[in-house]
Amino acid sequence: MTQQETPVRKVPVACTLNGQETEFLAAPYQSLLEALREVVGLTGTKEGCNDGNCGACTVSLDGRIVDSCLVLAAEVDGKSVDTIEGMAPPHGLHPLQQAFLEEAALQCGICTPGFLVAARALLEREPHPDEHRIRLWLAGNLCRCTGYDKIVRAVQSAADKT
């Protein structure tokens, strides 16, 4: 069957995005990741693998972290989505962002938004996780640059300060 025979209409999506009511049109086969970056214009969420392995595309969906490459945009109608763009307060940085800078927990930075969104979800649930717990929680986030130690230290340091 060709594309002409099966016209696929765009679907309206209304969600709460970083606390704000947002509406956009997405193709029904479009991932949330692609819609965020290419329709809404929020490019902070990164694409690494596009198949659920790297976590660069991590966002929070109704309070749970998910890989946005494995979510359809159409699914988030009526739901709440939080991305890296909503993390920092209006002035300054989130304690985790500050800690990543201070501990030099990034090099190229493509994995960083995903790590930050994932780490925030951990600290919101468990304010003082031990190193093992941090490593396990972040196992779905890959980094090719840092070797992870500095990322783990940054999360510990942010946890210590809150």
Binding site: M1, Q3, V11, R64, G140
Partner: protein, 290 residues
């Protein structure tokens, strides 16, 4: 990727109707952690994806002695439910190791079963719990034991218009314990080289095995119920010697291939080791459940 429409039915009947209408050109969609990856990889094309997360029967988790797991219930809901976790630690072993946290927010045991991968981590624990798959289709409901559900790599018993509604796990008997372990070269986020689920029920004396069940992952075309090793356990003392012998028998029921993850010989050895270990864990759990 061939463009597909997104359908979000609110009832089981609606879901069945859409699936029946499209036949092979539509598939159910739970967490999407297999189906979206396969679609992007060009494994197949679809005209419609049928999201089951709005269908009440597929999204409820109901513990009432027995446990009913809606087919689209994500893993985290299973392991974060403290009553379910306390009653079914052998299922939690699997639900808490599928993918990482992001995957567990979405991936369902129903999707794990329907995807029918030989290396699926969720299927063997369901088998040793004697779980029944509740299927709904154009002809109504039918019930299939989980060990008969997968027919070949990536294939299952579902016909046109049929979908998995829920998994029914019987209430564990007194003295029942179960466990699942897999071997992977990393600590997490990898596909099993081999996996074993074991369950046993202790007799009145607390020392003899009344009955047992063993199932094997990634050592055959589908997850396998090890019938001989399971039958062997009945009436035997719950000792390391018995567990080792069950492992030897289970390894004769495995039909592994060698691939980039491991050789066939390695997998056979893993079946022996993992059978011993999971039976020992199952015993501990059985003893605390008397």
């Amino acid at each position: 990727m061939h463009p597909f429409t997104y359908v979000a039915p609110r009832t089981l009947d609606e879901a069945v109707a859409v699936l029946e209408q499209h036949g092979e050109r539509a598939r159910p969609f739970a967490g999407g952690t297999d189906v979206l990856v396969q679609l992007r990889g060009g494994r197949f094309d679809l005209d419609a994806i049928v999201d089951l997360k709005g269908v009440p029967e597929a999204t409820t988790l109901d513990l009432n002695g027995s446990l009913r797991i809606g087919a689209a219930v994500p893993c985290y809901r299973i392991y974060e439910d403290s009553a379910v976790a306390a009653a079914f630690p052998g299922l939690i072993d699997a639900a808490s190791l599928i993918g990482g946290i992001q995957i567990q927010s979405r991936a369902s045991l129903g999707g794990n079963l329907c995807n029918a991968s030989p290396s699926a981590d969720g299927i063997c624990p369901l088998i040793v719990h004697s779980t029944v798959a509740v299927v709904q289709g154009p002809q109504g409901e039918r019930r299939v034991p989980v060990e008969e559900f997968c027919t070949a790599p990536g294939a299952n018993v579902l016909g046109r218009g049929e979908l998995l509604v829920a998994l029914e796990v019987p209430a564990p008997d007194k003295g029942f314990g179960a466990a699942y372990q897999r071997f992977i070269p990393r600590n997490e986020m990898d596909i099993a080289v081999a996996g074993v689920a074991s369950a046993l029920t202790l007799g009145e004396d607390g020392a003899t095995i009344a009955s047992g069940r063993i199932a094997l992952a990634a050592v055959g075309p589908t997850p396998l119920f090890a019938a001989k090793a399971s039958a062997f356990l009945a009436g035997k003392p719950a000792t390391p010697e018995t567990f080792a012998e069950a492992g030897e028998i289970a390894s004769t029921e495995a039909t592994p291939i060698g691939d980039m993850r491991g050789t066939a010989e390695h997998r056979i050895e893993l079946v022996k080791v993992l059978t011993r270990r999971t039976l020992a864990i199952a015993l501990g759990r059985a003893q605390s459940n008397r």
